[in-house]
């Protein structure tokens, strides 16, 4: 006992020290993450995490610093923006640095841009055609400006400025979509301040720190270790293109590395993080239960914002086993989309039978008009002709979810169609068997054999934990194919390994996407032009993005060639887009699954006015999109301290 007391005496100072520390820390309020006035500061999650070369703001050079640190959202600007949703004031197309849409000559070999007057850089120098000409000419000659040097070199023959506010591009060959280079969908080619860069011996080696901005904000400060970047509203914000929509509300916007999903949830519950970029479905459900100040894109299920991107089963169509559309259709008819949706997103996704994302204005452009065609669409299995489209699939998923999530699940059919999706293909193993047999496959000794007698094996390449949603979907699909009797399995690789293998066609089947659209505008050339057969690599050779399925079709080529000859806003573009969607259903070179949902969570303690699907879908709330800049003028401070 004596020893015990002695020990306690020895430990007493230590206990007192710990007690004093805890008392001291009590004074540390959880919400005090910054010395900036919190009610004037918007704190945003940057999905890039910690930026390794934080002091590098030259966005035109290779791997230059972070992009979604606020640099591209608040500091940069270019000619035009297309909103992935409805756009501010219901205008999807936004003339930003340009005062008008692009003006092409008849054969699309020349594009004229009229510039907005009265805009200034953050150091007060006026933005003029000289900046544009400099930006293009520097990119023509400087290979180090690698982000856009290739696109400029391939397209631009010459650029000139007939006057201070007009720029004329002469192109090397006709290109009716050349303006896409300067039209923001997530990002685009940004304009450089000539008066800053022309002083540098090599603009590609200049760190551009601090950046002279053309956006409504300027850099306030940043963490040299790359953890946070703070932007401050410019005093002369009226001289920026965003001023057309009003004054940006937050005086400061801070983009932070907020760590793993669990920490993001805690930080938002502590009101230390106003916008979370993305969460897992489970984390979002937890936050929805616990936070009283949370708002999301959809008020209830599935909460997330669907990106204009389409996760799909991508076949390597150059492999003999997938060359026949009957085989691809057989595999599609073995998928139970309800189970895949539950496995991937716990039901929180928008299913898609068409090869365009069911998001933005695309339900209006593509899904509504093609519903009847889908219902009438038939497949000839060789033994029977079947209607496979089930228009009630979205409704069935909603019914499946209702017992677990109750009132969060919409009951209005229109709301279900918009948030959970419309129809998909009914699983039909009998038809799948017939289609495989029609393609010359045989079921012998408990195994499926290809027409050449070799075993029919399928490996689905997935990204593992890096994209668990897709991995879960891929694993379930492999299981469904296996249950049917196919030798199917998944193969897990990291995303950087997939980046290397995908262009080489080093896979059977890939869970990923090769379709990305504007979201707000029906034109499909953003991804579709690269699907032309002229760009399909030979087996083993490197394929250019985005035709990862390496599929070519004379019918598709015709559609693409027609799109190339019409203007961006020509109504015929939508007709051709719908032709593409029908062709994809007939040929099934990829199996579209669902939208890529981003679980963006917004906290209303300090700010309100975030976009939402039901009442004000003015933009994509996902904060790494450059389009998210318009949120700054729509947000309103609550006055909370």
């Amino acid at each position: 006992m004596l020893e015990e007391r002695k020990l306690m005496r020895m430990l007493k100072p230590l206990a007192m020290l710990v007690g004093a520390m805890v008392l001291g820390l009590q004074g540390y309020a959880a919400e005090d993450v910054t010395s900036l006035p919190r009610n004037q500061t918007l704190i945003v999650d940057n999905p890039e995490g910690t930026i390794r070369n934080a002091g590098w703001f030259n966005i035109w050079a290779a791997n230059g610093g972070g992009l979604s640190t606020g640099l591209q959202q608040l500091g940069m600007d270019t000619f035009w923006y297309i909103d992935p949703d409805s756009g501010i004031n219901n205008q999807v197309w936004d003339n930003s640095l340009a005062s008008d849409p692009p003006i092409y000559n008849k054969d699309f070999t020349e594009m004229t841009v009229k510039l907005r007057k009265g805009l200034t850089w953050s150091d007060g120098v006026e933005f003029t055609a000289d900046d544009v000409v400099y930006t293009i000419q520097e990119h023509q000659k400087n290979e180090g400006l690698v982000n856009w040097h290739p696109a400029v070199s391939v397209n631009v023959d010459s650029v000139s400025a007939p006057d201070k506010y007009t720029v004329v591009f002469k192109l090397k060959k006709p290109n009716s979509r050349f303006h896409a280079l300067f039209t923001v969908r997530w990002n685009a080619m940004w304009m450089m301040p000539k008066h800053i860069f022309e002083k540098q011996s090599d603009p590609a080696k200049y760190d551009f720190n601090p950046p002279v901005t053309i956006g409504s904000y300027k850099l306030h400060s940043f963490d040299p270790n790359g953890g946070w970047f703070i932007w401050e509203k410019r005093d002369d914000w009226k001289n920026t293109s965003l001023a057309r929509f009003g004054e940006p509300a937050p005086k400061y916007v801070s983009y932070v590395d907020s760590g793993p999903p669990e920490k993001r949830v805690i930080a938002q519950l502590n009101h230390q993080l106003d916008i979370i970029h993305d969460l897992s479905p489970e984390a979002m459900f937890t936050l929805a239960k616990q936070s009283k100040t949370l708002v999301t894109w959809f008020k209830g299920f599935p909460y997330a914002h669907p990106d204009p991107t389409l996760p799909m089963v991508i076949f390597n169509d150059q492999l003999d086993k997938f060359k026949n559309p009957d085989v691809r259709w057989a595999l599609a008819l073995l998928i139970d989309i309800k189970a895949v949706d539950m496995a991937a997103y716990r039901g929180a996704a928008t299913i898609s039978a068409l090869a365009v994302p069911p998001t933005g204005n695309y339900p209006k452009f593509y899904f509504d008009p093609l519903q009847e065609w889908l219902k009438d669409f038939t497949i000839d299995t060789g033994k029977q002709t079947i209607h496979s489209y089930d228009p009630t699939m979205g409704q069935q998923i909603a019914d499946l979810l209702r017992p677990s999530y109750g009132a969060a699940i919409p009951s209005d059919p229109a709301a279900i169609a918009r948030s959970i999706g419309m129809g998909w293909w009914k699983p039909n193993p009998q038809a799948a068997t017939e289609l495989l047999e029609k393609a010359g496959f045989k079921h012998e000794g408990g195994k499926w054999l290809m027409p050449d007698g070799k075993p029919f094996t399928i490996k689905i390449l997935v990204e593992g934990n890096a994209r668990s949603i897709m991995t879960n979907a891929g694993t379930l699909i492999a299981q469904e194919w296996k249950d049917f009797g196919l030798d199917a399995s998944t193969e897990v690789s990291t995303n950087t390994v997939i980046d290397t293998r995908r262009p080489l066609g080093d896979f059977d089947v890939l869970l990923g996407w090769s379709v990305e659209t504007w979201g707000g505008h029906p034109d499909l050339s953003f991804f579709l032009d690269s699907w032309h057969s002229e760009f399909v690599a030979k087996p083993g050779e490197r394929q250019a993005p985005r035709n990862w399925q390496r599929w070519s079709s004379p019918d598709l080529d015709k559609i693409i060639e027609q799109i190339r000859t019409i203007a961006f806003d020509d109504p015929k573009g939508l007709e051709l887009g719908q032709e593409y969607a029908k062709l994809m259903v007939k040929e099934m070179p990829v199996i579209p699954l669902m939208s890529y949902n981003v679980f963006t969570a917004m906290d209303t303690k300090y700010w309100t006015g975030y976009p939402n699907a039901e009442t004000d879908p003015y933009t994509d709330p996902v904060p790494n999109w450059a389009n998210s800049r318009v949120m700054m003028v729509k947000l309103k401070p609550t006055g909370a301290n």
Binding site: R52, W186, A544
Partner: protein, 334 residues
Amino acid sequence: MRTILLHILRRFGQFVLVVFIGINLTFLIIHISPIDPVEASVSAMTAFSSSQPEAVELLRKSLRELYGLQGTLFDQYIVFWKRILVADFGPSLSAFPTPVSTLIGRALPWTVGLLLVATVLSWVFGNLVGGLAGYYRNSRFLKLAGVIFMALNPVPYYIVAFILLIVFGYLWPILPLTGAYEMNMQPGYRLDFILSVVVHSLLPILSLVLVGIGGWFLGMRALVSNIVTEDYVVYAELGGVSRTRILASYVMRNALMPQVTGLAIVLGSIFNGAIITEVVFGYPGLGRLLVSGVESGDYSLVLGVTTVSIVTVSTAVFLIDLLYPLLDPRIQAG
């Protein structure tokens, strides 16, 4: 004297050999990795943007030239060694054109600061309490401490980290969740900055100490338990030497030798960084840098961090080998 010189030379030879083999292995492993940094960059740069196939081809070519990835593996190996010998790891491919040495230099103080404090604290407390527990075997308090440390020891430290985050970041939010210092604070030798760094380091340090302390505790308790039965300890007790003096001068001092070796090796390995702790707490150290390099296929960065780690661990072992004969005369040089 000649024997000592021979001993030093032999150990130095081993040191050089270990470093050489380690660095070569790293070079080989990285270059047989299935990740192509150019394709990783192409993918990142074209993921969201318009991507004309002809332009992407040109992009690939430009990046390959820019990253200096032309030539055979042997050519790259020669360039690599030329750079290593002058401590130049070249530019980081994923944070181009920032030199790898700059990135390492920026991350190193944070990792060393965090792990040095955590390692020394766990070593001191683990050994102190372990020594006491081995000597005062009937103390209920020390028995309880033993149970707690043994229970914590096998728990993966990311679990401890998340529990601490939930307790001190959410349920009783008195500590910051992330980063190395407060947002909007510029680093400098000022009291407010130093205080901010200390407060931000408490949770990461606590998570490392709680888990790390158990190993030292168990080792020391076992060592002391053996030593207390030695004749010279029994003789001292019979001779009326005070228990405090026996513990400090006769028991702990003798038991410390293997623990000092362990400490040196652990101190050497702090240059590896504490990957999970740094990721969970958003700490800007070497571990996170290494992971980001691996994920992005950044050869130069991975080679740089790994080389620093190999050299420091080997140096620590080399120094221990040299110091051992001085510390413990029972060990003869050679």
